[in-house]
């Protein structure tokens, strides 16, 4: 049901009642009250059935049958022919009956007429039943009319409910979308945005988490308010100073560092772990991460391949893990005494 939103000087009762009635009509179709249904039931069948719509003369026949006055019937038995109100006449007839039988045989005639009375009675009963059938048919038509109305009403109601359901679903989705904003809000308070990007980067090798943390800290500090509420950058929210405008995002320093890593430790992951340990030294987290890096490095080149393949894509594929790292990084970034190295503060674009 719709709601009204009106001011006192705008209230027009007649108009509101028109709206209410229009809404009822729209919702229910043609609405019949119980009195109207009863009235319909009293109306003759022809009011419901359009004779032109009938393929046979059914209605006409029914009307004719209903209109006909039933003929009177009679009783006929073996005594009917000789019965009389006068007992003397009746006695003489009975006396002369054997003489009559000399001229013709009255028994078949009596029998036939007796059967005829039975047939007549049956037909009369049937005619009476026809009236009942007419009545039943009439009631059926009324019930069908009522059912039709109800079906129409139900259809309207189902449509109405479907509409409401659809609306509620959309509303629920909208509310869910609103709820999803909450974790972001928490991050904004707890960690600079740079942290997100580093954590995601650190997914390939866990040793990068510490690096990410310290870098996040540095990036947050370096970029000032950018980490608190500035416009989010498309990838990892790195500060603008960290992006090489020539290479389109990859800083010279980081490329140089990668080359250095490659020279020192080959294609394996061990060197990177060691590098990570070095970069994270001075903090317990860094040492732990370094150890993890060593363990990861011992796992051999398979991990390295994976790391190289999925470093960028995994940000999308493992958001929960990334979030966990973000939180870890945030916690670390919020520790003011954590010493960090200046190079590590530079975001790694690789």
């Amino acid at each position: 049901m719709a709601e009204f939103n009106v001011r006192a000087d705008e209230v027009n009762v007649e108009q509101i009642m028109h709206q209410i009635r229009a809404r009822i009509r729209e919702k229910r179709g043609v609405d019949y009250t119980e009195e109207q249904i009863q009235e319909l039931a009293k109306i003759k069948l022809e009011k419901f059935l359009d004779p032109r719509g009938l393929r046979s003369d059914l209605l006409e026949q029914f009307q004719r049958a209903a209109a006909k006055d039933l003929p009177p019937t009679y009783e006929f038995d073996d005594q009917t022919l000789i019965r009389s109100g006068n007992p003397l006449v009746a006695f003489i007839r009975r006396l002369l009956q054997p003489v009559l039988k000399l001229f013709f045989s009255p028994n078949p005639l009596v029998q036939a007429l007796h059967y005829q009375t039975q047939i007549n009675r049956y037909l009369l009963e049937r005619a009476a039943r026809d009236v009942l059938v007419y009545e039943v048919m009439h009631n059926l038509v009324v019930e069908m009319t009522r059912t039709g109305i109800e079906v129409k009403n139900m259809t309207m109601r189902v449509e109405s409910i479907a509409g409401r359901l659809d609306f509620n679903e959309r509303r629920a989705r909208a509310l869910e979308a609103v709820v999803q904003y909450k974790p972001e809000g928490r991050e904004e308070h707890g960690a600079p945005r740079g942290g997100r990007g580093f954590a995601a980067e650190g997914q390939g090798g866990r040793g990068f988490a510490a690096e990410g943390a310290s870098r996040g800290d540095q990036a947050g500090r370096a970029s000032g308010a950018e980490g608190q509420g500035g416009a989010p950058s498309p990838r990892g929210d790195q500060g603008p100073s960290a992006v090489d405008p020539v290479t389109g995002g990859e800083s010279l320093r980081s490329r140089r560092r990668r080359r250095r890593r490659g020279r020192r430790s080959g294609p394996g992951f061990t060197g990177e772990g060691r590098e990570t340990r070095d970069e994270g030294r001075g903090t317990d987290e860094g040492r732990r991460t370094g150890d993890e890096g060593r363990r990861t490095g011992n796992e051999g080149p398979v991990e390295n391949v994976l790391e190289h393949r999925s470093r960028g894509d995994d940000q999308e594929q493992r958001p929960a893990e990334a979030n966990g790292q973000v939180e870890a990084a945030s916690e670390r970034a919020s520790q003011p005494d954590t010493p960090t190295e200046a190079p590590a503060s530079e975001p790694d674009q690789s």
Binding site: M1, E3, F4, N5, V6, R7, A8, E10, V11, N12, V13, E14, I16, M17, I20, R21, R23, I24, R28, D31, T33
Partner: protein, 429 residues
């Protein structure tokens, strides 16, 4: 100026619509002029038994003279005669016998009115359909002002009443619908009179919280105030509300205030509080979200006016022309003629605060414009002064009753047939 208010019953504890109306008018006119009430010793409107002592007493500062009723009503005789005059062709004599049977047959009251006619400037008769009004108006037509309190029922179609409507000096109508109906029945173009109605002493500061505390009712509710009777539409109200409550769980409750003649259904959403004092009644109405008035026949509905006076919206039975007309003229109430309309209108009022408040504000303004006591009192006093200015010579004479044989001619149509020809519908503003 001395005014006599003539009414069938009178008392502080008599709360019938017309009787309460008469008491309010008498008490308020008494502030401006000398008023005496002439009434019977009856308390019960069904039997008219003499229950109160005859003589003079003071009620609310107004002198009340009571006269005994000659005989109590024979309910079966009255029912038989009602059927005869309402549904069959009959004679004027039958109608007069019906009037005697209806009562309250107080010859002493009519005799006093006739004999003391010169002692009063104006006689204000209440309720056209009773014995005292018919014979009283005939006795003092030149000083008679009639407050018909007519409803759309078969009695208005009786042939004995049009001469009364045409014979009084002025008619004080309760509504425009009543005026249209009486003008049609009386066959006179413009009867002298004015649409007045009645006011109500609404407390300035009702206490809805006190009511909620006392009754233990929490949450929003709709209220019905009045006799809980099938004739008042309560059966239909119960049926509709229970249906509504099933489809709207957790919504409005229905609170009933008044004496129950019809059994109140056992439903957790319906609460019957019985008869309440005026203070409690107004507290309850102030706490309510909406007043429901389900009656089919009302000449005014004071309760609806009181609700409007308190800024509450009203949901009325649209099959009652007067209630529907009041809703349309005031823009302060919705009405229903079917369950669907009842449910939709009630939901609209309950769910839309702006609509509810808008209707309430309009209701308060309508009440103050037309039904505040100063307005009502002024209308009565103006009518008296205008009639006095015209003098007694301007008074129309009441047509005498036909002769012996003409009275017995069975040519008067059934009252219901006459009523059927009276145009129905609300008078739009």
């Amino acid at each position: 100026m001395k005014v006599a208010v003539v009414v069938q019953r009178y008392g502080a504890d008599i709360n019938g619509g017309a009787e309460l109306h008469a008491r309010y008018i008498a008490e308020h006119l008494a502030r401006h002029t000398e008023v005496e009430v002439l009434t019977t010793c009856a308390r019960d409107y069904v039997t008219w038994r003499n229950e109160l002592p005859a003589g003079v007493e003071k009620i609310g500062g107004v002198t009340v003279r009571r006269f005994p009723v000659a005989r109590a009503r024979d309910v079966h005789d009255f029912g038989r005669r009602s059927t005869a005059v309402f549904t069959r062709t009959h004679s004027l004599s039958d109608e007069l016998a019906w009037l005697e049977s209806e009562g309250p047959t107080s010859h002493a009251l009519v005799k006093h009115v006739a004999s003391a006619a010169d002692s009063y400037d104006w006689f204000v008769f209440f309720s056209y359909r009773y014995y005292h009004a018919f014979h009283g108006v005939r006795a003092v037509a030149s000083r008679a002002v009639l407050v018909p309190t007519a409803e759309r029922d078969a009695a208005i179609g009786l042939a004995i009443f049009p001469p009364i409507f045409r014979g009084v000096r002025a008619l004080m109508f309760n509504s425009f619908e009543e005026r249209a109906m009486i003008q049609h029945v009386a066959g006179a173009g413009d009867l002298p009179g004015v649409v007045v109605g009645v006011g109500s002493d609404i407390p300035a500061r009702p206490e809805p919280d006190r009511f909620r505390q006392q009754s233990g009712i929490t949450g929003p509710f709709a209220i019905y105030v009045g006799r809980i009777d099938e004739n008042k539409g309560c059966k239909e109200l119960f049926e509709y509300f229970r249906r509504y409550a099933r489809t709207m769980p957790g919504g409005l409750q229905l609170v009933l205030v008044g004496t129950a003649i019809l059994p109140v259904p056992a439903d957790p959403r319906i609460r019957h509080l019985g008869f309440l004092s005026d203070t409690e009644k107004f507290d309850a109405m102030a706490a309510a979200d909406v007043l429901i008035m389900p009656s089919y026949y009302e000449s005014l509905s004071m309760v609806a006016l009181e609700a409007w006076g308190m800024g509450k919206p009203v949901l009325a039975n649209g099959r009652c022309d007067v209630l529907k007309g009041q809703c349309l003229r005031s823009n302060a109430g919705l009405y229903y003629e079917s369950y669907a309309e009842f449910a939709d209108a009630l939901y609209s009022i309950a769910s839309s605060a702006s609509l509810s408040q808008g209707l309430g504000r309009n209701g308060r303004a309508y009440f103050e414009r037309h039904y505040a006591w100063p307005v009502i009192e002024r209308k009565y006093l103006d009518v008296f002064s205008q009639l006095s200015a015209r003098g007694a010579s301007a008074a129309p004479a009441v047509e005498p009753l036909p002769g012996f044989f003409a009275r017995r001619a069975r040519t008067v149509p059934a009252a219901e047939d006459v009523l059927g020809r009276v145009p129905a519908g609300a008078v739009k503003p």
